[in-house]
Each structure stands twice: as structure tokens, then as C-alpha cells.
Amino acid sequence: MNEINQTVTEADLHAYADGQLPDQARARIEAWLSDNPDDAARVAEWTARNADIRSLFAAYEKSTDTDIGLVTGRRQPANWPKRLATMAAIIAIFGLGALSGHYGPTLFEKPDLQLTELETLPNEARNAFLVYAGEVRHPVEVFANEEAHLATWLGKRLAVQDLKVPNLQELGFKLVGGRLLPVDGSPGAMFMYEDQAGERLTVLVGRNADNRSTSFRFASSGNIETFYWIDGELGYAVTGEVSRDVLRKVAEECYRQFPS
């Protein structure tokens, strides 16, 4: 066990994370890591990131139709003709797909839309909050006394079966009502809540073009905080002029209550 007393250098930690050490040396580093949580955290981060980087590029390990031309020197000299040909192929395939009404769209689904929405979501949520939360008489279109109707109506516009209006009573926020509004160019829903002091917050729900989820993140602008995330087919944003802590609890509560 004397070996443990030897200093572990940063180079050792890299070598450990990259799997470049023989067993004996690994054991020595492991003993060190169990006593040095900061180093252990760094190594864990590097190891996880190695896997992420490999995953990022794994799909590129493939052959293409042009490979043989590449090694026999008979490829197109410039990229332009190739790209024109690709465009022509895309147009041709798209035409076929449109005819069959089937394959075209699935071939060209791209994740960009979803990222766009995620970038615009906090802004849209903040704007909606700014415009509507200050309204005294008309903050919403349908008030809380018609909650069932509100849910059915907005669910229909969003094409969501059983759209639930989150219940935030436990956190001290009562439903004011909701309205229809555009989110990223499509029908979206906004629910508004207020606490006993009249402090309001809004929950925005928009349709997500791509069925992939994100983690939870927040954006601040002045005193206004927004928590937002995408969960499957829907994007959500919770906005208010309340502490981040309170808003996070609200967001977590919404996350729990909205169907996945």
C-alpha cells in the first residue's frame, strides 16, 4: 500500500480516464480517487465526455457510394457538381415522396426546428408574461370558473388529448385562467396563476416539432425568470417575477403534472 503515497499527477488522471494504465496502476489511482473527491469528479467528467464525444461521431463511421471513386481517383473534381447532383436527387426523391405521400417527409425530418423552438421559447414566454400578467381586467380569455372548458378548448387547439391545467394550489398559486396564443407560429396555451398577494406567473405550452426531450433550464431577464424544457411533443415555459427558487418548485410541479 506504500504506492498510494506516491503522488498522483494530472497526467495519471488523464491516463486513468482514457483507460491507458495497466491494472496495478489503475488500482493505485482508484485508491487515490476514493480519498480525493475533486479528482474523482474530474475523472468522472472526462470519462463521461469521452463517451459523449464517441457517440457524437460514431454514426460517421460508414461507407458511401462515392468511396470507390475516391480511391480510384475518379471522383468529381469539385464539390459543386456533387452538391448540385445531391440537390437534384433530393428534389427527385421529394417528388416521389410527395406522390406516395409517405416517404418524403420522413426522409427529411431534421432536428433544427426543435432547437429553434427551444431558443425562442424563453423569449416568447417572457413576452407573454409581460403583455398579459399586468392586465387587470382581461389577463385571460377563459377564467378559472370554466377550467374544464379551458382545458378541452386549448387541448383541442394544441392537439393534445387530455391537456391538464396544472394545479399549483399547494405552492400557493391559484389558477386565474388561460388563453390561446401563438407559440413558435402554432397554437399554444398560456395558463396564468396568482398568489394571495396578487403576484402572477404564467405557464406556456407549445407544440414541439420534434419528439425529443431536453433537460430543464432557466433564463433570466431583469427580474423576470423563466424555466423551460421540452418533454416529448410539447415545450413548456414557466415565467414569473418571483424568486428562482419558487419558480423552480412551480416548474417541477408542472413537470410532474403534465403528461409525458
Binding site: R49, T214, S215
Partner: protein, 171 residues
Amino acid sequence: MKTPGQDTFEGQILALLPSLRRYSRSLTRSDADGEDLLQDCVEKVLARRGQWRGLNLRGWVLTIMTNLYRNGRRQTDRAPFVELNDAEDTVSVDPAPDPLERSRLEDALNSLSEENRSVLMLVVIEGYTYQEVATALDIPIGTVMSRLSRARQRIGERMKADNVITLRRPK
């Protein structure tokens, strides 16, 4: 077009192409840059075939590609925002659950210098030992370690997200 025989030089390069494509994309900022680097590399390899000593073809080609990349020939001004287009069309080995995290990782990699990025990718993507990297790039192993360290530190800083919380819905 006739497929080159497996024993021929061309045939061996052909067999290496998929993994070369992955490595070239890991160094570059877009699919188009990745393909360009791959094509330049193959051209150079074919032109210099007489210089190959008959051992470790893959290592020889990877060094040529890395040098092409480091010499900055491919660092033309292309759009900085790129997607992993081709990768999206194929069945992904591990569909990343969070597309934003993927794109943040790509941004972080794109912020690395060519020197640091090539060391990182030789280690992570190609599984090179540090000594192999030193030999391939003709630099001391201490330089390999400091570049690797800088690459990781930089990525760590770029990825440090103070606004991301991972939430899981309780079952």
C-alpha cells in the same frame, strides 16, 4: 466502377474509409469540411503511396490527415453553425437524449485549437496511446499531455452550464 482488390493499396484504403470519415469529421466543424478533409487526405495518400513503408497503413494515413488538418488547409470560413447532418440520417448508436447537450458539446469542440483538438480526437476517437500520439505528431509526450489537458479544461469551461438542471419525473 470496378472495386479495387482487397490486397491492392487502393483496396486497403477503401477498407479504411469509414473510420477515416469518422476521424475527419471529428476534427472538423461540419459534414462538408469533414468530407473535404477526407478527400484531400486520400488524394495525398494516393500521391505519396511510394513513401509508405509497408507498416501500419492506418497510422500513416491518420498522421497525414492530422497534418493536413493542422496546417489549416480546411479552416476556410465556413458557417460556424453546423449540424451533424449525415449522422442524423443513419441509425444512431446512442441516440443522445438531449439534442441541446449534443450541440453544446459540438460548440465546445469547435472552440478548440487545431493542435488541441487533434490530440484529443486521436486519443478519444482513435484510441491512440499518448506515446502513439507523440510519435504520430512528432511532438514530445509532455506536449501531448499539456494539449490534452488544455482541451479538456476548455471543454469543461464551455460545457459548464449554470442554467441546466436535470429533472426526472418520479415513477
